[in-house]
């Protein structure tokens, strides 16, 4: 359980990433109530203070909102969720392209590679 986080990066950020993914995947739907700070802490074996910081972080990004006395909820603002979705896509692509460019692949090679890869994957799936 302790291994789901890298020890050399801030846990609150890693947890925020993790929760963003859960939201984008739809595991946490818009309007859903997040587990309490302590519940999340127990689930991922992390200090509740850190979880609290993650929630604040997500709140500052408008992904979640805390309602006084009720808890923290996933935003129902589809616009925000869409932009997060886009943002994470861009993030992943950036990393991917950086890696590919570092290895010396050209854009054409990458594009061809991607199409082939997707076709193959698609066949497997199909």
């Amino acid at each position: 359980m302790a291994d789901i986080f890298h020890s050399s990066q801030p846990i609150y950020q890693q947890l925020a990433e993790r929760m963003k993914k859960q939201i984008i995947r739809g595991e946490l739907a818009p309007g859903d109530k997040l587990p309490s700070v302590r519940e999340t802490g127990i689930e991922v074996s992390v200090n509740p203070n850190t979880v609290q910081r993650t929630y604040r972080e997500l709140e500052s990004m408008h992904i979640v909102e805390s309602r006084r006395g009720q808890g923290t909820f996933v935003t129902e603002d589809e616009g925000v969720l869409e932009s997060i979705r886009e943002e994470m896509k861009t993030e992943l692509m950036t990393t991917f392209f950086q890696g590919m460019h570092e290895m010396g692949y050209t854009n054409e090679e990458i594009e061809r590679g991607l199409i082939d890869f997707l076709n193959e994957k698609g066949e497997q799936k199909g």
Partner: protein, 229 residues
């Protein structure tokens, strides 16, 4: 709030702590790490009023520490000694009679969480379950300061995990300060707010763990390796 001001402790000619200054604030889970004999246990015993400083002053919430500080400090020893004729239930009843702030309801809740049978005799408990019971007795107090000396030592991963979860579940981080000494840094890596490193009786570092990760991209183990050289 715990403050150690210029605290030294000698046992005969052996120096256990050397001019230690330390300030710990409430609402945090703090790890005191260092090799064997570096002064971790001594620090905890001084804060619990079970040892007396040779020089300097120890205060808990402004009050100068004597043995009577047991009123606001819950101390868990690393020793595996207990009253063998007690049952689990009797241990809880006894603890509850001795400390006004002991929350019996909470104790039974933690007991359930730790899957202990109240009717078991202590002399028949496994080492792991004795370790769990110590945690129950120590966490069930509504006390501003909780000190835990090597709560994971000699326990298997399952038990260590249940203790970690128990800490997260039952510590009241709004009010309580928990100071924990341990070798098993991996175990507490994700639950500590702050880490204090001690070497040969001196404090060689005191950091917020998340800041360490943010500013130096270091986990506790990396940082320990660096400061210990």
């Amino acid at each position: 709030m715990i403050t150690l001001t210029n605290v030294s402790k000698r046992y005969g000619t052996k120096k256990a702590l050397d001019h230690v200054n330390l300030e710990l604030t409430p609402g945090k889970l703090i790890g005191l790490v260092g090799e064997n004999g570096s002064g971790k246990s001594t620090t905890l015993k001084l804060i619990a009023g079970l040892n007396h400083p040779t020089n300097g002053e120890v205060r808990v919430n402004g009050e100068k520490v004597t043995r009577k500080i047991a009123d606001s400090v819950s101390y868990l020893s690393e020793l595996d000694e207990y009253y063998r004729f007690f049952t689990v239930k009797r241990s809880i009843e006894f603890q509850s009679s001795q400390f006004k702030d002991f929350d019996k309801e909470k104790a039974y809740e933690i007991l359930k969480f730790m899957k202990l049978d109240p009717n078991d005799k202590l002399k028949h408990l496994s080492k792991g379950n004795r370790g769990r019971l110590k945690i129950v007795l120590s966490l069930a107090r509504n006390v501003p300061v909780i000190l835990m000396d090597e709560p994971f030592s000699g326990l298997d991963p399952m038990v260590r995990n249940s203790i970690v979860k128990g800490l997260i579940s039952f510590i009241d981080l709004e009010k309580q300060l928990v100071l924990i000494t341990t070798h098993e840094i991996r175990e507490v890596e994700n639950i500590l707010d702050e880490v204090v490193a001690i070497k040969a009786g001196s404090i060689i570092g005191h950091h917020n763990v998340e800041e360490l990760r943010e500013q130096k991209q270091m986990g506790i183990v990396d940082w320990m390796t660096e400061v210990y050289e």
